[in-house]
């Protein structure tokens, strides 16, 4: 018995009579074929979706409209071959250049002047509050891969959990994993780190390393780590408009205050004396008066400079 050429198609469409089906099943395992087709029904062909097609169709139509308005209808598709190549390669070249130089281009620098503070929110939710006369540099684009900041001056950090967060200064390095801390580095001889939350690891240029816990502070002077000390207050002083010092040389105290007041302090011969106490940042005269009474100085202001003289 000969089997018509189109019989399988008819069977698949359910158009066969019982007899024809029986005849066909002698040649083919129809159950197995049916099983196969049923399984296939769970699959679908991959096509570009309606929305995407529709959206890009709009731009394609406007494209052809502008093309046909600049030249006559079908000539526009017969541009010289090399133009197509150039149009194709140009973005590629830009992309390559962009990726090669991205890390250099994207270096972000934030600088604060005297009596100015700024803050910045990073992509991962970490924040940095920048004290006056400070410069921070970091790579915002690489932030998800590498959280690294170069700091000159003082800043307070609130670090979201994630990779190592590294603050580099000229006098040492601080590394953390999700915490809140303050780094103060005036020059290459001295820096201080205060940790408000979590843990931070501080290392000096000789790579000596120490772990700082919450409410502890440490300073590095002349390239050496000092001792861990308990912080008196958990408040971040400069953000609450005051400044606390602990056996700090007058020279450093005045240098620090100059940042907040945009004024010059001169204290000839007194720089080596040490000061412990809290000084307000709201008013320069009040600050100078408080420092004078505590230390036994007198002060006078001339234009943009305040002179301290020992009254002893």
């Amino acid at each position: 018995m000969s089997i018509p050429e189109d019989i399988l198609a008819k069977w698949a469409a359910g158009k066969l009579s019982k007899e024809e089906q029986i005849a066909l099943s002698k040649k083919y395992d129809l159950d197995a074929l049916q099983l196969w087709l049923d399984r296939q029904d769970a699959l679908e062909i991959e096509v570009v979706t309606d929305d995407i097609m529709w959206d890009s169709l709009g731009s394609k139509i406007t494209e052809t409209l502008s093309e046909s308005s600049s030249s006559s209808n079908d000539v526009s598709s017969k541009k010289p071959e090399w133009i197509k190549w150039v149009l194709f390669l140009l973005p590629l070249v830009f992309l390559i250049v962009y990726f090669m130089f991205r890390s250099q281009i994207a270096m972000t620098i934030i600088k604060t002047e005297k009596a100015e503070t700024k803050s910045h929110l990073f992509a991962d939710g970490s924040t940095i509050d920048i004290a006056p006369q400070t410069e921070v540099r970091f790579n915002d684009n690489q932030w998800d891969k590498e959280r690294q900041i170069v700091l000159e001056g003082q800043a307070t950090f609130k670090v979201a959990k994630g990779n190592a967060f590294i603050v580099q200064t000229r006098s040492g390095e601080v590394e953390v994993l999700g915490t809140q801390f303050d780094v103060w580095s005036i020059n290459k001889d001295w820096m201080r780190v205060q940790c408000y939350e979590g843990k931070v690891s501080v290392s000096d240029p000789q790579s000596a390393k120490i772990i700082l816990e919450a409410n502890e502070e440490i300073s590095i002077s002349n390239g050496r780590l000092g001792y861990i000390q308990k912080m008196k207050t958990t408040e971040i002083d400069w953000k609450s408009n005051y400044r606390s010092f602990k056996t700090t040389p007058i020279k450093l105290v005045l240098l620090d205050l100059e940042r907040f007041f945009d004024i010059r302090f001169v204290a000839t011969g007194l720089e080596a004396e040490v000061f412990t106490g809290v000084i307000t940042l709201t008013n320069v005269e009040e600050a100078a008066r408080y420092l004078s009474t505590t230390m036994g100085y007198e002060f006078k202001q001339e234009k943009n400079t305040i002179y301290f003289i020992s009254s002893k």
């Binding site: 050429e5 189109d6 019989i7 399988l8 198609a9 008819k10 698949a12 469409a13 083919y28 395992d29 197995a32 074929l33 196969w36 087709l37 399984r39 296939q40 029904d41 769970a42 699959l43 679908e44 062909i45 991959e46 096509v47 570009v48 309606d50 097609m53 529709w54 890009s56 169709l57 394609k60 139509i61 052809t64 046909s68």
Partner: protein, 167 residues
């Protein structure tokens, strides 16, 4: 009614863009090339919308599509994916089942890719787009008999490559 009104044009687009993609993939175009060509068809339709009645839009589109295909003849590569949420088995799939599905998918892809362009187009329009033989005949501008012949050949190929070996 011509297709110049955007609502009509969108309706035509929604109705035929997927069958056109399947048609061109069946003719052996890669997925993105097919999508691109389908868009070209609609661009042409839009630019000549004044000349095309709504009911003629379908054959207009398929004619352009097959011309584009002749211009751009390529080797077949059909890609399949799972229909999400339809099969109840997918809900509690385990590793073994997944593996089997993947294997099945690969085999099916291979089989479809090994069909001739003509048979593949018919097979895909019928199985994936659920078009009847009569609809396919209209789309491709051939007789129903020819569609049935091509479909039978496609099924025969599928049977020979996958089911006979199992027995």
């Amino acid at each position: 009614m011509s297709v110049c009104a955007e609502a009509v044009f969108k309706e035509v687009f929604d109705r035929w863009q997927k069958p056109l993609q399947v048609f061109l993939q069946g003719r052996g175009m890669m997925i993105h090339k097919a999508a691109d060509s389908v868009q070209d068809c609609f661009v042409k339709l839009w630019n000549n919308c004044g000349d095309v009645e709504r009911d003629k839009a379908k054959s207009y589109l398929f004619t352009i599509a097959s011309r584009l295909h002749i211009d751009e003849y390529r080797k077949a590569e059909v890609r399949l994916k799972y229909r999400k949420g339809l099969s109840p088995m997918v809900v509690n799939e385990d590793g073994q089942y997944k593996l089997e599905e993947q294997e099945f998918k690969n085999k099916l892809e291979q089989t479809i890719n090994s069909m001739t362009d003509k048979n593949r187009t018919v097979f895909m329009l019928n199985r994936f787009e659920k078009k009847t033989y009569k609809e396919i005949a209209e789309l491709l501008d051939i007789s129903v008999k020819a569609v049935e012949k091509r479909m039978s050949n496609a099924l025969k190929k599928l049977y020979q490559e996958n089911i006979i070996q199992k027995k």
